[in-house]
């Protein structure tokens, strides 16, 4: 009988008593960053711009939009919330000079084994150009744990109106979501990449792809090519995919019309999120833009995400949204064809517009219902030479 007690004792020992002491944290993230103090409010258009909350885990560029770089005081203290136990260099809250460009901050994990470097920039305008030619692209290579390297194209713009030569990463794609399950891929393997076959110079190729066995199993079987002004917050890609696409960047001019060039061919088989085939449905491309107030009634910053865009017919019903433009149809064509769309809705108050109180969201997708994981694998949309006209 004594043995019996020993057995139970052993089992209990293994199952519970062996819980070791908690290891030191391995993570080293900047979770939020902010400028504090009324004396600094004058540099920003809106006080909401002084805080960057919920910084995406994949983000290493933190940008603060200011009225004028030249008017900045030489030294500004930047505060951070970082992973518990981690340390940051230069010190949290220390005075730094952002007038000369990027300041790099390095966060080291509590266990000292991991580091991440963040580039913090103060920039004048959020949307630096009126014309997007998609000539600026950089290839980001990331080593994957399971061997191999994923290379992804990242589109950016350069501010031609100021002396700043900092790249502005205003464009986002869903590529990082697909990269999660890819182990060794070239830029052209992803749903969005920079193509040498542009209308002028380089252009963007967006194509709807299979998300593979893993994607199908997670009920996200296809990945539409989508390029948009805004951010792709990878954190939500599995738990709330529509929240991952956060549309819009601040813009201090009111848009009237957007034009551009495209080529489009829909894929063969239209399928839904269960990969059920619909022989009578044809895939369509989608190009649209939304102009909306980026601060809500409570004075908190507001961003449109995929949930708000689920039904494009209802976007204008959103009280935050002032204007919207849609390209009525994009017939299949193999030659570069021009499209245009006009903004409809209500006029935005000039003072708020000038104070960067509005965001412009511009979205291109190779499958109109790609956010619902409906579309045809193989649908391919090329886009180039996009031009935005503003109210004078």
């Amino acid at each position: 009988m004594n043995k019996y007690i020993i057995f139970i004792g052993l089992c209990c020992y293994c199952m519970t008593s062996c819980i070791k002491d908690e290891a030191l944290n391995k993570e080293c993230d900047i979770e939020s960053a902010w400028v504090e103090g009324v004396e600094y409010e004058q540099y920003f258009y809106q006080t909401t711009e002084m805080r960057k909350e919920k910084i995406s885990s994949a983000e290493t560029n933190i940008v603060f939009f200011v009225r004028s770089i030249l008017s900045l005081s030489k030294q500004i203290p930047l505060n951070f919330k970082i992973t518990d136990g981690a340390t940051i260099e230069p010190a949290n809250g220390s005075m730094q000079d952002f007038t000369k460009g990027t300041v790099a901050y390095t966060v080291t994990s509590e266990d000292g084994k991991w580091k991440r470097t963040y580039n913090v920039t103060f920039q004048e305008t959020s949307l630096p150009v009126q014309k997007f030619s998609f000539e600026h692209v950089e290839t980001r290579a990331e080593q994957t744990l399971l061997g191999g390297t994923n290379e992804i194209h990242v589109f950016y713009e350069k501010d031609i109106t100021s002396d700043s030569n900092e790249p502005n990463y205003c464009w986002a794609t869903g590529n990082p979501g697909l990269a999660l399950t890819m182990t060794d891929s070239k830029p052209e393997d992803f749903p969005v990449y920079s193509s040498t076959d542009g209308k002028v110079g380089r252009g963007v190729c967006l194509n709807t792809q299979s998300a593979g066995a893993l994607g199908e199993w997670m009920k996200k079987p296809i990945a539409a090519g989508s390029l948009f002004l805004g951010k792709f917050v990878i954190d939500y890609v599995l738990s709330d995919a529509l929240k991952a696409t956060q549309f819009g960047v601040p813009n201090s001019k009111e848009p009237v019309r957007i034009t551009g060039w495209y080529k489009y061919q829909p894929g063969e088989k239209f399928t839904d999120k269960n990969m059920k085939e619909y022989p009578d449905r044809k895939d369509e491309a989608s190009i649209y833009a939304v102009y909306y107030r980026n601060t809500d009634d409570q004075g908190e910053s507001y961003i449109l995400d995929g949930h708000d865009m689920e039904d494009l017919d209802k976007v204008l019903d959103n009280p935050q949204v002032y204007k919207m433009a849609r390209v009525a149809s994009l017939p299949a064509t193999d030659t570069w064809t021009q499209w245009e769309m006009f903004f409809e809705g209500r006029d935005a108050p000039d003072d708020i517009v000038a104070a960067q109180g509005f965001n412009l969201a511009l979205v291109f997708s190779s499958s109109k219902s790609g956010a619902q994981f409906e579309g045809a694998i193989g649908s391919t949309l090329y886009v180039d030479e996009v031009e935005v006209s503003y109210v004078k």
Partner: protein, 252 residues
Amino acid sequence: MKKNIAYIILIATSLLIGSPAKADTLDSLQLKARMGYSIGGTAPIPLPETIRSIESYSLTPSFMVGFDAMLPLTQQWGIMTGLHFENKGMKATITTKAYFMEVVKGDQKMAGLFTGHVEQKVKQWMLTVPVLATFTLSRKVMLKGGPYVSFLLNKGFSGIASDGYLRKDNPTGPKILMGNREGEWATYDFDDDMRSLQFGIGIGVDWQVHKRIGVSADLNWGLTGIFPSDFKTVEQTLYPVYGTIGVFYRLK
């Protein structure tokens, strides 16, 4: 599979019959039919620091039925073998911090460090052949100990990672949040990757309560992990450790 079962039975019987037994020693052969219920776990031993707590452990139908034959060699020492059909199942919810895991589907993989809840289910229906030395302590109590080999007939290793996040590849990789509903969490199963043969050490006691009826307690400690050593997906080696409380009926 049938061939393997036949092979195990052959080993079992040959161990008995093949032993240097004369007719009179064969007469002293003890036969016991037994059944029991097992409680235990299939876990890394010791638990790694990435496992922070065991939130729940639910009983699974871990039954054992079988028979044993014991051949006394001296007054006190003997040798025992038999054939047991048993399940070493487990269902446990653990909380993890930066626990390495991998999700595999087809040719695609996603690996990283998971912090959150893991609901783990293990199913291992097997035929076990123990080869035990016995020591008769008294007329009623017999101690036993020795190796065993198990052949798995039906196996399952699956789970759900929820309410937390996966840092892809390493602690600086993208942080993928997981929710608490289907479609928001990640599931995995590695049924086919499990070993078909397991070895281990068992110790136990048989206590004859009545003329023919007795109770038993056994502890079977796996020495081989449930996955082959070249299977890297589950970082820690998982050992099956199960205690069995049972009753037996002495046939002879």
